[in-house]
Symmetry: C2
Subunit: 261 residues, 2 copies
């Protein structure tokens, strides 16, 4: 391929939170390479649950793990958001990617749980930088999950986002069901509000001291409606939730004006 042709291929930045050793990111990389040149910036270690955490007290290091035509893989000792930030600022030689992809997460990111999701942390960083960004999560939580059922979904969503773009400031949280029967198709959904219950399991160590494992089950409460991600995911739909990084509650502003008067 001549240089001019090469320059026309989209540049796709790929990250995740499980780390580079997991199947999910390899399936995503394989599909992304069908569409463009891929640079991976992924955590060296398992970083699930890190949300949009960033690292400011420890310096980051990046190791170039794979360097072949159309694919570079950087491993970074940071959070998912760190990996994305470091790539955008330092590892892409000044190029701006056409797309930021995250996942495939081993486990769904539904409801308010997405607040704590490192998979989402990657695309929120992409979104802050004004780049089209999509996160993919699969309902199979197994560390060695077979991701092949996700491939047609990835191909479809990536093709459409590359062709048509996304509204400004919007990124996508895509969840692919597992074990819910044949996929029914796509539903555009909202985030199901809810909360965890029984969040911790208390145990006692051999020295008699208590410690707590985070666990918990998700209890949807005030809007488990038919337009939510959780409702549709559980019925076999691939859910696509448009998200943004602005957490302002604009509707509440007049009420807060009154509160402060």
């Amino acid at each position: 391929m001549c240089d001019i042709m090469k320059e026309k291929r989209p540049l796709i930045l790929v990250g995740n939170d499980d780390g580079y050793s997991f199947n999910g990111i390899h399936t995503l990389i394989d599909v992304a390479r069908e569409f463009g040149d891929v640079v991976v910036s992924a955590p060296t270690e398992f970083q699930s649950g890190k949300g949009s955490a960033i690292t400011i007290t420890v310096p980051l290091r990046a190791t170039l793990h794979v360097d072949e035509p159309g694919l570079k893989v950087w491993l970074v000792n940071g959070t998912p958001a760190d990996c994305c930030k470091l790539a955008l600022d330092q590892l892409l030689d000044g190029r701006v990617p056409d797309l930021v992809l995250s996942g495939i997460n081993h486990g769904a990111n539904l409801g308010v749980a997405s607040l704590n999701s490192g998979t989402m942390g990657v695309i929120f960083e992409g979104c802050v930088h004004g780049i089209e960004s999509v996160a993919f999560s699969y309902g199979n939580y197994s560390y060695d999950a077979d991701m092949s059922a996700c491939v047609p979904v990835l191909r479809n969503v990536i093709a459409r986002v590359l062709d048509h773009g996304l509204p400004r400031g919007v990124c996508l949280n895509v969840n692919i069901p597992y074990d819910k029967g044949p996929l029914k198709g796509y539903k555009v959904t909202s985030t199901c509000m809810g909360r965890w219950v029984h969040e911790f399991e208390r145990r006692t160590d051999p020295h008699g001291h208590d410690y707590y494992w985070m666990t918990g089950e998700y209890a949807p409460h005030y809007t488990a409606g038919e337009d939510t991600d959780l409702y549709n995911f559980n019925r076999g739909w691939v859910t696509v939730t448009p998200c943004h990084v602005d957490q302002t509650d604009h509707e509440a502003m007049p009420a807060i004006e009154r509160l402060l008067q």
Copy 2:
């Protein structure tokens, strides 16, 4: 005070991200105690930048550091969100606090930076649990900042929130200017969209290997308007931004429907 009177005092859960050794949280505790019984659940270590990160691979431990009438202080080896979650699930003996307070952060939490803020991570957890929650941040970034200028603001906001409550699902991000002249009063604001530029400083270690310190400056881009937190904070207003934990972009849903057709 008799037991019945005691039961009527509000229960206030206090957290932060800088850790219990910082001035900010002590100023907040002192003011909170004027209003109710206080339980602190704060990180043992500095946890700035941790956003809504949670800890799932390491168990948490909680040490009861202070136990006196009207005040308990738990120190937890986790993130700011962990501390809040553990308190709500385990450390409050089944009681639900009337208020979750976070801060005072040594440094402002303005614009999209709040996405990465551990101070905000605390109140987002409170908000997920349906509890009135307020974060306070001060524009002085010094580790030994004198927080006395914040006290009247804390008193005013806490009193109003306890008296009148907040709209359902809404928490408050309060930023108090430093070094901008006399405080002008309160402005209800929106989060200033923007992004960081020059995010990392590359250095070389004594062994010849590169490493990166996160740094960067915040560059407001597409909405640095007159209703934003950044604009008003820089002009000496205490900014009060109503936030929520639902990151769905509801307005974008029809556009994403079309994208997938």
